[in-house]
């Protein structure tokens, strides 16, 4: 059974597969394949030509700017959260959405729990790889707070208060 994840507020089956750095490019999954950034950089021209949907994984240390020229090639960008304290992905998400106008799926992976969902969503993330035990509870986490004090990537979320009062 494919793993389940939370996407656009619903629990769905993950139709993407991660491609190991050593594995051949063939046999791409129906949904699409996800490359490491290193592999993308090494094989960029081949993948630009290749058919099929493509995703890439960013770690906290990677610069979003590096992907900027090729963003239109990606249908999925995965930001990797190594643990409960590393918050670089939040900035990466906002930069991708707000500065580089990335419109594809933006996924949080690694250490992701319901307690982060509200902030992640406000930073532009729309899909979340969660432990199975967290999936149901996490669907309610988008409404942890009913308003926000500052603008962020808030399609469909409340406007910052200073503009509403």
């Amino acid at each position: 059974m494919p793993r389940q994840l939370l996407r656009d507020g619903r629990v769905v089956a993950d139709d993407w597969s991660y491609l190991d750095d050593g594995a051949g490019p063939a046999a791409s999954a129906a949904g699409g394949v996800i490359l490491s950034l290193a592999r993308w950089v090494a094989e960029r021209s081949a993948w630009l030509e290749a058919p099929g949907r493509l995703g890439v994984v960013l770690s906290g240390a990677h610069k979003v700017e590096q992907l900027a020229p090729d963003l239109s090639r990606f249908d999925l960008i995965v930001a990797e959260f190594p643990g409960p304290s590393d918050g670089r992905g939040y900035t990466q998400g906002r930069l991708l959405r707000e500065r580089y106008r990335y419109a594809g799926e933006l996924r949080a992976a690694g250490y992701v729990r319901r307690d982060q969902i509200f902030f992640l969503a406000r930073c532009g993330f729309n899909s979340f790889e969660l432990p199975e035990s967290e999936l149901a509870a996490a669907t309610g986490a988008f409404h942890t707070f009913s308003a926000a004090y500052q603008p962020a990537n808030d399609a469909g979320l409340p406007l910052p208060l200073q503009f509403r009062r």
Partner: protein, 597 residues
């Protein structure tokens, strides 16, 4: 004997009842007069931010969130480490004896109702006291973990919370405790503090920074908020055309590698304050070190890049986001300023309240009250540095008494100072003697503000699991050694700051005399520095030599003071003498006697 001030009438007129719906703009003078009349002799506070239904909803939602997280932890669904990252965002530490809960007091400003609620919490959930901190917050040292959600709910009922009082996020914004009443002020910084408080609260991008992040805002010539040792210091300044804006500093901080903040921008137009802060935070969030906790503060980033390169990166980021919806418009500034309008001062002349009064009152008047910009008023320090009491501690009954006195004498408002005292900002000079009597009876009139015994002090080994050595004990020994007020007054202005470990919560680096607890083979020893300062002329103190045993600390300080007294010019402060004559004479004398063994 104090008159009783039952809370009911006060609450009805106060800003916290459900009937006090948010209002745009200021109340008219007429409305104030009506309310003041309705309150009888009691004056009503207007000069603080008042929550509206949205602010209130957010703190209540936080209580619900934290209650859920606590229940999941107690049910074993969250590991210790997972819960740690959540509870820290809510001011909850696991300490030596029990959890410690730090409650936010935004820029140190409290209404009397809020202080009363803190007193009530101290009595019912703690052991009858609270500890006020250098960042103008309060800590409770003995709550039970399972009761913390209830405490938060009680705080929410008076528009308070513990949001972002610990953890690697943007902490409470601090400010000048004399904001709005000091004659040396360009502009009241509190509206800007509240603008920053709101922007930084639940900021989705900056909830998991490399390390904690502290912002201080001041608008006066004197820096009473230690802004130069904050991650970011915001100074209200005049621009080239005379308009008000901000000087922005970054990279100050204490701890293991103390540094003075450096100017990143000398003038920022005021509408860009939030976008500029967002740019600073964004650069820090991406570039700050995450591999080593002791090198993760922004000061290390500023130092390693150099301030020019740091500035270049911030400015580049700011250029890209400055128009992205964070502009603070005139309407928002006006809305915030309206909350901090001056209270309804009476039309009075300055008098000499000390004339013909007893020496004890005259000493208190001289040391514990300061000039007010409005004739006929003084600002009054309530010393929490009584000998024998841990510095910064106040009992439940003291908090309630101060709340009552604030209602009676100070428009229902109380402030917490960076130096761990309380302050009534607006007291009529004619009422000072009455107020002094009431404070004196409660042990709150120790006339030592600004003197050697007005020490800043962390909780130390007695409470804190990080500490290497006791602080409170040393404060007690210093108080016992220097109990002669004539001598203290002769010494004049000296600030002593004491931390129980390198984390420097007691700001020892910027004490004129700094004391740092160190662990030497399981024994408590103390390293002494001199020449530090936290104000506008901030500097880091220099170590005078080897550390001394606990029993030798007070004697060592006494010898340092002897050197000062011998060398000072007339009216010269300890700090200025140290700066003028240098360390050498102090070093030579400090270890002269056998007491330093």
């Amino acid at each position: 004997m104090l008159p009783s001030f039952a809370g009911h009438g006060c609450r009805a007129n106060h800003a916290f009842g459900p009937t006090s719906a948010p209002q745009r703009g200021t109340l008219s003078v007429y409305a104030r007069t009506l309310l003041a009349a309705a309150a009888g002799r009691r004056l009503v506070s207007f000069d603080m931010y008042r929550y509206d239904v949205i602010d209130r909803a957010l703190v209540n939602e936080r209580v619900a969130q934290f209650r859920d997280q606590t229940q999941r932890f107690l049910a074993g669904e969250l590991s210790d480490d997972e819960f740690k990252h959540l509870r820290l965002r809510n001011g909850l530490y696991i300490q030596r004896h029990a959890p410690m809960l730090r409650v936010a007091i935004p820029y140190g400003l409290l209404s009397s109702s809020q202080l009363r609620a803190l007193g009530s919490i101290a009595r019912r959930y703690d052991r009858g006291y609270g500890h006020f901190t250098t960042r103008q917050n309060i800590q409770f040292n003995w709550p039970k973990l399972e009761q913390v959600p209830d405490i938060l709910a009680e705080l929410a009922a008076v528009d308070m919370h513990a949001i972002q009082t610990s953890g690697n996020c943007i902490r409470n914004t601090t400010s000048d405790h004399l904001a709005g009443v000091t004659p040396d002020e360009l502009e009241d910084p509190r509206p800007w503090c509240e603008i920053i408080r709101q922007w930084s609260t639940f900021h989705p991008e900056f909830a998991f920074l490399p390390r904690k992040f502290k912002i201080a805002v001041t608008g006066a010539a004197q820096d009473r908020a230690a802004s130069l040792v904050h991650d970011v210091g915001v100074h209200i300044v005049r621009g080239p055309g005379g308009e008000l804006g901000f000087e922005i500093l970054a990279g100050g901080g204490l701890g293991r590698a103390p540094m003075i903040g450096q100017v990143v921008r000398d003038f920022l137009p005021r509408e860009h304050l939030l976008s500029y802060l967002e740019a600073v935070l964004r650069v820090y969030n991406l570039e700050g070190r995450r591999d080593n906790l002791t090198k993760a503060r922004i000061k290390i980033l500023v130092k390693s890049l150099g301030v020019e390169e740091f500035r270049r990166r911030v400015e580049a980021e700011w250029e890209a986001l400055r128009d992205a919806g964070l502009r603070v418009g005139d309407a928002e500034v006006a809305r915030m300023r309206a909350f901090f309008e001056p209270p309804a001062y009476r039309d009075l002349d300055d008098v000499d309240p000390a004339a013909g009064k007893a020496a004890a009152f005259r000493a208190w008047y001289r040391y514990n009250t300061v000039r007010h910009k409005v004739p006929g008023y003084r600002a009054v320090y309530i010393s929490l540095k009584k000998p024998g009491v841990p510095p910064g501690d106040a009992s439940d009954m003291q908090m309630e008494l101060v709340a009552d006195l604030a209602d009676r004498y100070a428009f229902g408002e109380v402030r917490v100072t960076h130096t761990q005292n309380l302050l009534l900002a607006d007291v009529e000079q004619e009422k000072l003697h009455e107020l002094w009597n009431a404070l004196e009876g409660a042990g709150l009139a120790t006339p030592n503000i600004g003197t050697l015994t007005d020490m800043i002090c962390c909780p130390g080994l007695d409470f804190c699991s990080l500490a290497n050595a006791g602080s409170i004990d040393v404060a007690r020994l210093i108080n016992e050694r220097f109990d002669d007020y004539d001598y203290l007054y002769d010494l004049g202005e000296i600030d002593v700051k004491m931390s129980g470990c390198m984390n420097a919560c007691g700001h020892h680096h910027v004490g004129n005399i700094g004391i740092l607890g160190v662990d030497k083979g399981g024994e408590e020893w103390y390293q002494i520095t001199i020449g530090g300062a936290a104000g506008a002329d901030a500097s880091l103190g220099s170590v005078i030599g080897p550390s001394v045993a606990k029993a030798g600390v007070a004697d060592t300080i006494a010898r340092l003071l002897d050197v000062y007294v011998e060398h000072r010019s007339p009216e010269e402060r300890f700090l200025d003498t140290v700066r003028r004559i240098g360390l050498k004479p102090f070093k030579e004398r400090a270890y002269a006697a056998p007491a330093a063994a």
